[in-house]
């Protein structure tokens, strides 16, 4: 088991290195990427541009720039090109919103997906199953920004039932925090819930035919015990590992559209605006932060999976 854990984390480290290098290189090769131009502003003279290039070290070889940037990231001094603001502090400011969104939404879509999956699987191809299948398909297909915008318009703008976007920290007002998060939670969860209910449903239907379920019934276990202890338990394991990764994606700033539509000023929104401005430092940092989140949570999920399903360790 220890070997398994160490192995996972070492692999994680390698991935992080690659992610950072790759991202850095991307921005070296894209057109219009010259950061000196951006820093200098619209009315820059060639002399100003040259001066900025020298001052910021843009004339140094690529790998030197890479290591410089990495150093700045790790010492917390990295500054964005567009506003000369410390990137890490920006990220720290955006974290509460992103974290609230990630935690709330992921719990919501997990429970939702499990519930709908269970309901669908009870009578496969029955009425409930078909209705929920249609729902899932619709939910997965609807773009997040459409759903979000429509909800905002109907429930916030027109009717003032919910606030019109923005984020209020929990410490400031718990009820306001909650009201501000309801619509974003719902919007982000919708497609995921649709997806998870289908995945869980199909796991359930497969598990129910397994021989050990027949054994469980033959042992005279109560129906509840058979369903919960054997069918659901075994079907949940792959869903949980999926969930871990999806959660990591959101907390890594992946919910760009949702954050932007609801103006939450989280990490995702910061990433979106930085990309538009081709502002390399924030992008680098966010990519690495996201990579860290995904890789670490992924490793944790792998370990949890091994705890839940001991067969994994056989091949480790």
């Amino acid at each position: 088991m220890t070997r398994f854990v160490v192995r996972r984390f070492l692999q994680a480290l390698i991935v992080l290195v690659f992610a950072s290098v790759f991202t850095f290189l991307i921005f070296q090769v894209i057109p219009n990427g010259n950061p000196a131009l951006r820093l200098a502003g619209r009315t820059a003279t060639p002399m100003q541009i040259a001066a900025i290039t020298r001052a910021w070290g843009f004339n140094k070889p690529v790998y030197v720039q890479y290591f410089d940037t990495m150093e700045k990231i790790f010492t917390g001094t990295v500054v964005s090109y567009s506003q000369q603001v410390n990137v890490l502090s920006q990220i720290r400011q955006g974290l509460p919103a992103t974290a609230s969104l990630a935690i709330g939404a992921s719990i919501l879509w997990l429970l939702w997906g499990i519930a709908f999956g269970l309901l669908s699987a009870r009578r496969p191809r029955g009425i409930v199953d078909r209705v929920l299948a249609a729902f899932s398909l619709t939910a997965i297909s609807m773009p997040v920004f459409v759903v979000g915008s429509v909800l905002l318009y109907v429930l916030a703008f027109r009717t003032s039932l919910f606030p019109n976007g923005g984020y209020v920290p929990f410490s400031q007002s718990a009820s306001q925090w909650f009201l501000h998060m309801v619509l974003p939670w719902f919007t982000l969860s919708l497609p995921a819930a649709g997806f998870y209910s289908r995945v869980f449903r199909s796991n359930l239907l497969e598990t129910v035919h397994q021989e050990y379920v027949r054994t469980a019934r033959a042992k005279g276990l109560s129906r509840r015990r058979v369903v919960l202890g054997h069918v659901v338990r075994n079907s949940l394991i792959p869903v949980l590992s999926l969930w871990g990764l999806d959660f990591a994606g959101v907390i890594g700033g992946g919910a760009i559209l949702t954050e932007t539509v609801f103006n939450l000023h989280g990490i995702g929104q910061y990433a979106a605006s930085s990309i538009q401005l081709l502002d390399v430092p924030p992008i680098m940092v966010i990519v690495m932060y996201a990579a860290v989140a995904v890789v670490i949570i992924g490793a944790v999920v792998d370990v949890l999976y091994a705890l839940l399903d001991p067969r994994i360790l056989l091949n480790a």
């Binding site: 397994q210 021989e211 054994t215 033959a218 042992k219 005279g220 276990l221 054997h230 067969r311 056989l314």
Partner: protein, 348 residues
């Protein structure tokens, strides 16, 4: 019906409604089982043996299934009994073990837990005490270092050991009947011999009646006292084991006995075979189901379903065939041993 037998099955019929029609998996099966007896059920795929054993346990899931007939266990009628009644019998009074112990055990739970789970489903007992009982059971079925091994997962055991775990589970609540569905087919032959021997000992020690579903006549001869031969959802012959081997009455039985190569006899040139293949259980014919494959079929066989005839002088021995007993005894010998004449090889 009287409660003179531990288990009495009377004209059991189990059908499934499918898109293509009605499948009559079990079509008029009657037999009994006494306490402590060992009964073999011999059949191939499509014979209905699995549907029958699952029905005895009340395990048939299908909502499209219809049941007719009666199954009496210790006087209680099982067909149509409430789920709660069945649940108290399942695992506690009638236990079952299956063919493939690897897939029959839940891979994510420890073995000791799985045994304890069964005990706790039927008795009010603490978790710890159930765990201790599980370890005792594991020792009893021959698993060394049971206390340690109880904490292991199924995939950490070899095939024979896993089957022993299944046996431990089955015996955990002191059942009266054990149904073993091809319990050793997936195992090596030396392990099979061990497991069969141990199972039989355990049953004899505890007075547990055994229903052993198998296709291997060697196992029937060494373990069972009586046997049923099933074909296409019906019992075509039932007898004591001696009667079955020495005076088999039904051509299907001859075919089965003859087509199996035997180590203790000289090699034959060609094996006698049963031509054709097992009939579908979908809308089966009303006449003799075996007639299409029977080289001795005649007029009546294709018209009227044969009744269960008792062999004169052998009260346990019944079969469903229109041939007279004398004809049967004359026809069944092929090249000095029992079998059907070798098929020509064409089997469209």
């Amino acid at each position: 019906m009287s409660g003179e037998h531990l288990l009495e099955v009377e004209d059991l019929r189990v059908s499934f409604a499918t898109e293509d029609g009605v499948v009559r998996a079990v079509d008029g099966v009657s037999f009994y089982l006494d306490a402590g007896e060992a009964l073999a059920v011999v059949g191939e795929s499509g014979s209905g043996k699995s549907a029958m054993s699952m029905t005895l346990m009340g395990l048939t899931r299908d909502t499209n299934a219809t049941f007719n007939g009666q199954v009496y266990f210790e006087g209680t009628e099982l067909i149509g009994a409430s789920e709660s009644t069945l649940r108290h019998i399942r695992g506690a009074k009638i236990a079952m073990i299956f063919q493939d112990p690897m897939s029959a055990l839940n891979p994510v739970y420890r073995v000791g837990e799985q045994i304890a789970e069964q005990i706790r489903a039927h008795e009010r007992i603490s978790r710890r005490r159930a765990g201790e009982r599980a370890i005792e059971l594991m020792t009893r079925v021959g698993i060394p270092q049971a206390a340690e091994r109880a904490r292991a997962y199924p995939h950490e055991f070899s095939g024979g050991m896993r089957q022993r775990v299944m046996i431990a589970m089955a015996f955990s609540c002191s059942p009266r009947v054990l149904i073993a569905d091809e319990p050793t087919t997936a195992l090596d032959v030396t392990v099979q011999a061990q497991i069969l021997g141990e199972m039989r000992e355990l049953c004899e020690e505890s007075g547990v009646a055994l229903i052993l579903v198998t296709h291997d006549f060697g196992i029937v001869a060494s373990v069972a006292e009586r046997a049923l031969v099933m074909y296409a959802g019906q019992i075509v012959e039932q007898a004591t084991v001696e009667e079955l081997f020495e005076d088999p009455q039904h051509p299907y039985t001859w075919g089965l006995l003859g087509s199996v190569p035997r180590l203790d006899r000289p090699r034959s040139e060609r094996l006698p075979t049963i031509g054709g293949s097992t009939p579908s259980l979908l809308n089966p014919v009303r006449s003799c189901r075996f007639a299409p494959r029977c080289p001795h079929a005649f007029g009546r066989c294709e018209e009227v379903p044969p009744l269960a005839f008792e062999v004169p002088g052998q009260h346990e021995h019944r079969d469903r065939c229109w041939l007279s007993v004398d004809d049967k005894r004359a026809l069944r010998v092929v090249d000095g041993s029992i079998g059907l004449a070798a098929a020509s090889g064409q089997s469209f």
